[in-house]
């Protein structure tokens, strides 16, 4: 059942990314990366393997939907999921600040890796300075939205699946 829940969360992220984030783009000039936040959430809740697999598929969907370099987001999100899942072993925390920091570093890593992969696979493509500005805004948006979104999802998971929720956290395992 929890798999269905995560699938729904992933679907919700796709929907959010394709619809609601447009309003952020209109208001603030950049849109949050809901996929990154969901991958952070998945990694935190389910560990590095689920984070990696979930991140891979969500990233792949994002690649297809955005029409960019196929596999770039899949790799980035997979790595983020894996890294976040690894962190939970060592870091005990469910605080908003922790989520915000994770989202911040994940977003910075995502942007940097994207540029690096573009340099490697598509050297002819020029990276416009505007990209960095947008990437910076996206990072900030993710940082601010992460506590809200991750907290909301964790809360929902705990309510719907009280037995399974949060088991990866060390203090409750």
């Amino acid at each position: 059942m929890i798999v269905i829940f995560y699938c729904l969360v992933g679907a919700g992220a796709i929907v959010f990314q394709s619809t609601v984030s447009e309003y952020f783009k209109a208001w603030l000039g950049a849109r949050p990366d809901a996929m990154t936040l969901i991958v952070v959430y998945l990694g935190l809740q389910r560990g590095q393997e689920t984070g990696l697999i979930g991140g891979f598929f969500l990233g792949l969907l994002q690649d297809v939907l955005t029409g960019g370099l196929l596999g770039a987001n899949a790799l980035s999100k997979g790595l983020i999921g894996h890294a976040t899942g690894s962190l939970r072993r060592n870091v005990s925390g469910r605080e908003a600040l922790f989520h915000a920091l994770l989202a911040f570093f994940a977003s910075v890593f995502n942007s940097t890796l994207m540029v690096t992969l573009l340099f490697v696979f598509l050297p002819d493509v020029q990276i416009h300075p505007q990209y960095w500005l947008e990437a910076g805004k996206t990072t900030l948006l993710n940082t601010f939205l992460a506590p809200l979104l991750v907290g909301l999802l964790v809360g929902a998971e705990e309510r719907i699946f009280p037995a399974a929720a949060g088991t990866p956290y060390p203090e409750r395992s």
Partner: protein
């Protein structure tokens, strides 16, 4: 081998991730422009999802458009209502103008049949006094109007100028008891004098008792009074008394002009009167 993979599952997954992603990226770069199987599959999955997700957005957009449309329609409706009100006013004005043009046309037609020059005068006011039937018109001595000039319209005799001011004049109407016009019966040429009786009815006096008069006969000015040119319609005979009962025949008549709907009149500027009759 499998045991090793299971033991190092995380590392295996990570390696697989790199392998798959780099393969995908390589394929993506090499086959730019063509859609891969993975892309097709992912699009097939995400397409309906996005379609469904886009539905509320479309509904909201449509709702917004409908709202804007309704708001615009309401504003347009208000503007159109105002325009209709203005158009109604304009329509009334046009009808009024049309009526005026018709009246003036008939006045013009009437004036063409007259032997003397005429001037069109607009009625400024009517004397509401019960003692006199007069009109105030917008032409005076500065326009060549003099005392005693006949005033007519397309239907017949209206009256005569009783006082001529600089820019306005007073017209003594035919319906005033002080007015009297020498008339003849158009059909038989029998002569009499038309005036208004104190009761408000028109009568023809001094008509010979054996004269041939019938109801519906037209009385025209005889030209003998020196004011109204001969041939102008004055009144219609409405009632005729029996012959031989009295010295003069009793005949009632109503003026040819409808005094209730007068708006413009023609003042006959007779040269001899223009010359200096007081």
């Amino acid at each position: 081998m499998f045991q090793l993979i299971l033991e190092r599952r995380s590392a295996t997954l990570l390696t697989s991730l790199f392998l798959i992603c780099f393969t995908l990226m390589t394929l993506s770069v090499r086959r730019q422009g063509s859609i891969t199987l993975i892309e097709r599959g992912a699009l097939s999955i995400a397409g309906p999802l996005l379609e469904a997700a886009g539905a509320p957005k479309r509904w909201m957009r449509d709702l917004g458009r409908q709202y804007l449309l309704l708001r615009d329609m309401r504003e347009e409706n208000l503007v159109l209502k105002k325009q209709i009100t203005a158009m109604r006013g304009l329509s009334f004005q046009l009808r009024e103008l049309e009526a005026k043009v018709r009246r003036l046309e008939s006045q013009l037609t009437a004036s063409r049949g007259l032997s003397v020059p005429v001037r069109l005068a607009h009625i400024l006011g009517q004397d509401a006094s019960p003692f006199g039937q007069t009109l105030l018109v917008d032409l005076g001595t500065s326009h060549g109007v003099r005392h005693g000039m006949p005033v007519v319209n397309q239907a017949g005799v209206v009256g005569r100028i009783s006082r001529a001011g600089q820019t306005a004049s007073r017209v003594l109407l035919l319906t005033d008891s002080r007015s009297a016009v020498d008339v003849i019966v158009q059909r038989t040429r029998a002569q009499g004098i038309f005036s208004m009786a104190p009761g408000g009815k028109g009568e023809v006096r001094y008509l010979a008792t054996d004269s041939d008069v019938q109801e519906g006969d037209l009385l025209i000015a005889s030209g003998l009074g020196g004011v109204f040119p001969k041939g102008l319609p004055v009144a219609w005979v409405t009632k005729v008394g029996p012959k031989g009962e009295r010295l003069f025949r009793q005949v009632e008549a109503r003026p040819a002009v409808d005094f209730n709907s007068l708006e413009e009149v023609l003042i006959m500027i007779a040269p001899e009167q223009e010359a200096g009759r007081p």
